[in-house]
C-alpha cells in the first residue's frame, strides 16, 4: 500500500512534508508526556509486528499483491498519536533501509497509514466497543486498511491533474481517479477482512498478557 518514489509530484509531497512534520512534532510532544518505561517493550513488539505485517506480501487474484498493516492494535492500545509515531518509524526504516515505499512519498504514506489509519481505527473501536467488542476490533482493523487505501488512491489519482506536460502527458503517475479508486479499494476491501480478523486475534492475545490495561 505504500507509494514508491517517483509517483507523487513535488506539488503534493512538499506540503505533505510540512504537514507531517508538524504532526510528528505534536505527536512527539504527546509521547514524551505520556510515555514511561513500561510502555516501551510493548510498543516495540507491536511496532515490530507492524513492520513484519507490512513486509509480507499476500498474492491477490488478478496478479496484484497486498499486505496487512497491523496498526489497529497499537492505535487501540496506545492511542493514535503513539501509533502514528510508531508507524512513521516503520515506514521510514522500510524506505531508507529496504527501498519499500519512498523517501519523497514518506509523508504521504505516514499521514495516510499512520495518522488517518490509526485515528480511524482508534475512533471506531471507541465508538463500537460498548456494542460488541469483537465487532469493534474487526471494524478497527478493516478501517485501518481501507481508510489509508482511500487516501492513497485519491493521492495517486490526482497526479495527472496536478503534474502533466503542456500536451497533457502525466509526469509522475498516469492513472486518474476513475482507475485508481477501484484498482486500490476493491483488493483492500478483501484485505481488510483479514486485517479485521488479525486485529481480533492479536488484541485478544495481548489482552491475556494484561497489555491492554495500561
Amino acid at each position: 500500500m505504500h507509494i514508491p518514489d517517483g509517483f507523487i509530484a513535488p506539488q503534493m509531497y512538499v506540503p505533505a512534508y510540512g504537514l507531517a512534520g508538524a504532526m510528528w512534532a505534536l505527536a512527539a510532544r504527546r509521547l514524551r508526556e505520556s510515555f514511561d518505561e513500561d510502555s516501551i517493550p510493548k510498543l516495540a513488539v507491536l511496532s515490530a509486528f507492524c513492520f513484519a505485517a507490512m513486509m509480507l506480501m499476500i498474492p491477490l487474484p488478478g496478479g496484484s499483491s497486498a499486505h496487512a498493516s497491523g496498526l489497529a492494535v497499537p492505535a487501540i492500545v496506545f492511542g493514535p498519536w503513539t501509533a502514528f509515531v510508531a508507524v512513521s518509524l516503520v515506514l521510514a526504516m522500510q524506505a531508507l533501509l529496504f527501498g519499500n515505499g519512498g523517501i519523497t512519498t514518506l509523508p504521504v504514506n505516514a499521514l495516510a497509514l499512520g495518522l488517518a489509519g490509526a485515528t480511524v481505527a482508534w475512533a471506531s473501536y471507541r465508538a463500537l466497543r460498548n456494542v460488541n467488542e469483537n465487532a469493534a476490533l474487526f471494524a478497527a482493523g478493516w478501517l485501518s486498511v481501507n481508510c489509508p487505501a482511500l487516501i492513497l488512491a485519491i493521492a495517486l489519482g490526482l497526479q495527472p491533474a496536478i503534474a502533466s506536460t503542456a500536451d497533457g502527458k502525466p509526469l509522475f503517475f498516469p492513472f486518474g481517479l476513475s482507475v485508481t479508486l477501484p484498482a486500490i479499494m476493491i483488493p483492500h476491501a478483501l484485505v481488510g477482512i483479514g486485517e479485521g480478523v488479525l486485529t481480533i486475534l492479536i488484541y485478544r492475545a495481548i489482552e491475556k498478557r494484561g497489555w491492554t490495561a495500561s
Partner: protein, 148 residues
C-alpha cells in the same frame, strides 16, 4: 505536343508509384541480440507481470521504449550502447518502481543484478532494528513512579 507532355508527366508519375508505395511498407528483420533484462516481482515472489513501463535514456524526456512487463515480470531491451537508463514501472493500484541504473557493467548475464534480500529476512532485520531503537529509547524515558 501538349498531349505528349501530359503523357510524359503521367509516365513519370507512374514511375514514382512503387517507391511511394514502399514508404508505407513495414519491413522486418529478425536477429538475435544481447538484451538487458530487468525483472520485477512483488517481494521477490510473485512476478510483476503485464504492468506498464517507460524506459528513458539518461537525461531524455521522450521514452526510448514503452510497453508492459512480460508474464515473468521482465522488461528486456537491446541497449544500443552501454550507459545510464531510467526505468519506471507502475500498476494501476500504485505499485511500481522508478529505477536509475547503468548497463556499463552488464556485459555478462546477471552481472548488473541488484542485491536481493528476501522479504522474510528483511522483516527479521527490521524487527531487530526496531527492538534496538526502542531499547535505546528506554534509556531516555521517565521511570514509572512506584508508590511506597
Amino acid at each position: 505536343m501538349k498531349l505528349a507532355a501530359i503523357a510524359s508527366l503521367l509516365l513519370s508519375a507512374s514511375a514514382l508509384l512503387p517507391s511511394h508505395a514502399d514508404a508505407h511498407d513495414i519491413v522486418h528483420d529478425i536477429s538475435r541480440e544481447q538484451a538487458v533484462v530487468v525483472t520485477f516481482s512483488y517481494g521477490g515472489a510473485e512476478p510483476f507481470s503485464f504492468e506498464s513501463y517507460e524506459l528513458f535514456r539518461a537525461g531524455e524526456d521522450i521514452p526510448f521504449q514503452v510497453g508492459r512487463t512480460d508474464a515473468l515480470g521482465r522488461v528486456a531491451f537491446p541497449a544500443p550502447q552501454p550507459g545510464s537508463w531510467r526505468l519506471k514501472v507502475f500498476s494501476e493500484s500504485g505499485h511500481g518502481a522508478d529505477l536509475d541504473f547503468d548497463t556499463t557493467q552488464a556485459t555478462a548475464p546477471g552481472s548488473c543484478e541488484a542485491p536481493k534480500l528476501g522479504n522474510r529476512l528483511k522483516a527479521l532485520v527490521g524487527a531487530s532494528l526496531l527492538f534496538g531503537i526502542f531499547g535505546l529509547l528506554n534509556l531516555f524515558v521517565k521511570k514509572r513512579e512506584v508508590s511506597p
